[in-house]
């Protein structure tokens, strides 16, 4: 029994097409998560680096003795 409203039931009539649907579903689901994750990782890393630079800049200069 097939439900023709479903793209996979309607269009994916062979194994290769079904595999393509499966891979592309995973691809389109995972890509935005990957992009968001990469963006958040970059922002956090950049913030830490800026904080580190500020800390070094604010540290008192070592005295001679």
């Amino acid at each position: 029994m097939t439900a023709l409203a479903c793209a996979v039931c309607y269009a994916a009539k062979d194994d290769a097409s079904q595999l393509a649907f499966l891979i592309m579903t995973g691809f389109m689901t995972g890509l935005p998560l990957l992009l968001l994750g990469a963006g958040i990782y970059w922002v956090v890393r950049r913030m830490r680096r800026l904080e580190e630079q500020e800390r070094v800049a604010e540290a008192p200069a070592p005295t001679a003795d």
Binding site: A16, F21, M28
Partner: protein, 199 residues
């Protein structure tokens, strides 16, 4: 009560506002991320169509011309080289801005070569009968490659603008970075499109 709150806020250190990157860099990065999803949708639809067609009729579909794989490989190399020259321009800009002009001009010329060669290729394919309406294969080809060509043409315009500013010694690093991110997006997207559409 309000006096206490005021006292507390006066004691607390003011939160620091850090700019993690120039506004242009953040803006173009968000734009490139949305465009990545746009092209991902096109690639996904094309892949599904191709798998179905290959299973039933073979690829390319009957009556449709074979895409020029070898010529486009050469063209792809020109676009990749354009990206490398822009990277070199960035390195030179950091050392001495005036020395970045030559690699940036080379990047511009190679990018222009890519877009013009794509146009020549399209004329040949139209002559062979591959049009937007000849088949879904043609529709996908012109849509995906055409959208990339529009991005490449826009990239050339901003590269040209950056080059002119560099010549007048008005280009600042944040502007160069903004232009670079967009051009790298155009350059790095192309091999994926070439792999999915041509091979």
């Amino acid at each position: 009560m309000s006096g206490k709150v005021l006292q507390l806020s006066q004691k607390m250190p003011a939160a620091r506002r850090r700019q993690i990157a120039p506004n242009g860099v953040i803006g173009i990065t968000v734009f490139c991320l949305t465009e990545t999803m746009f092209f991902a949708g096109l690639i996904s639809a094309h892949t599904l169509f191709r798998m179905q067609t290959t299973a039933t009729d073979g690829w390319p579909p009957p009556g449709q011309p074979r895409l020029p794989i070898e010529e486009t490989a050469l063209n792809s190399a020109a676009l990749l080289a354009s990206g490398v020259f822009l990277f070199v321009a960035h390195q030179r800009y950091r050392a001495a801005a005036s020395t970045a002009m030559r690699p940036m001009l080379a990047s511009l010329f190679l990018g222009a070569f890519f877009v013009i060669f794509q146009g020549v290729e399209w004329v040949a394919l139209l002559g062979e009968g591959l049009t937007m309406t000849s088949s879904a294969h043609g529709g996908f080809f012109y849509l995906i490659v055409g959208m990339h060509a529009i991005h490449a043409a826009a990239g050339l315009l901003v590269l040209g603008w950056a080059y002119l500013r560099l010549r007048r010694a008005e280009l600042v690093l944040s502007q160069l970075l903004t232009v670079e991110i967009f051009w790298y997006f155009v350059v790095l997207l192309w091999p994926i499109l070439y792999w999915r559409v041509y091979l």
